[in-house]
Symmetry: C2
Subunit: 146 residues, 2 copies
Amino acid sequence: MNAVTIDPRLLDDCHLLGQLASGAVLLNRNAALHWFILVPNTTLGDILDLPVAERDAVIADCAALSAFLKSALGYRKTNFAGLGNVVAQMHLHIIGRNAGDVCWPQPVWGNLPAVHAGDGHHTTEQLLDMQSQLAATLGLVPAALA
Amino acid sequence: MNAVTIDPRLLDDCHLLGQLASGAVLLNRNAALHWFILVPNTTLGDILDLPVAERDAVIADCAALSAFLKSALGYRKTNFAGLGNVVAQMHLHIIGRNAGDVCWPQPVWGNLPAVHAGDGHHTTEQLLDMQSQLAATLGLVPAALA
């Protein structure tokens, strides 16, 4: 699987943190909770259409990101989804959730409070620290922060 | 993995169609589109926490249901998710989607039109036919329809 060009709408919504074995790791700019997006190196749209070996690699990276949300960031549970109704490029959501969080128990889509300039964002320091932790624990190859 | 007792809230919303290798297959009663739910034989809550062998078996059954939605029912794409914020028991959503469907491009949760008595349901004939097709193609062990 070769790295693909990431849909600009995903990059508008997210920080590109770097690359794992199966694809690119993004973090939603909305810091109300931690919301990773994995963009696999594929031209297919639906995760369940992937050949088994590629599917296994993608799911393994999603599981590693989910474990990171729990072990490093203290989330009690994660939501996991591949939708792709708006942006057709395959992208998997791995989202840290806690009872009582900002949109609990609703799904995040359409239910997060809006982020305004200078408010509700991850700081550059937080992003650099997350890249370091993901590099150390998951083998992330960090990207230059835009 | 042994079969588990299914949360009654899932059975309120869904028809129990039968069993696959990794768990029970349900079909949402709302027939605005075809929405399968797989309830794996596990006591864990999040799919990405499953041991790899169990995770592979669950994902394989989800992929088979997704392929059925496309090949037998003509859907162009599927949405796939494990949330569990309301019903904590692990259950995976595999949903047939088409551009222009009743809630396109929104996710289904909270966006489907309500189903009323005698309107918007799958018929018993349709459910029996689906059980037969799933038995033939996926090895479903059919359940008696409630």
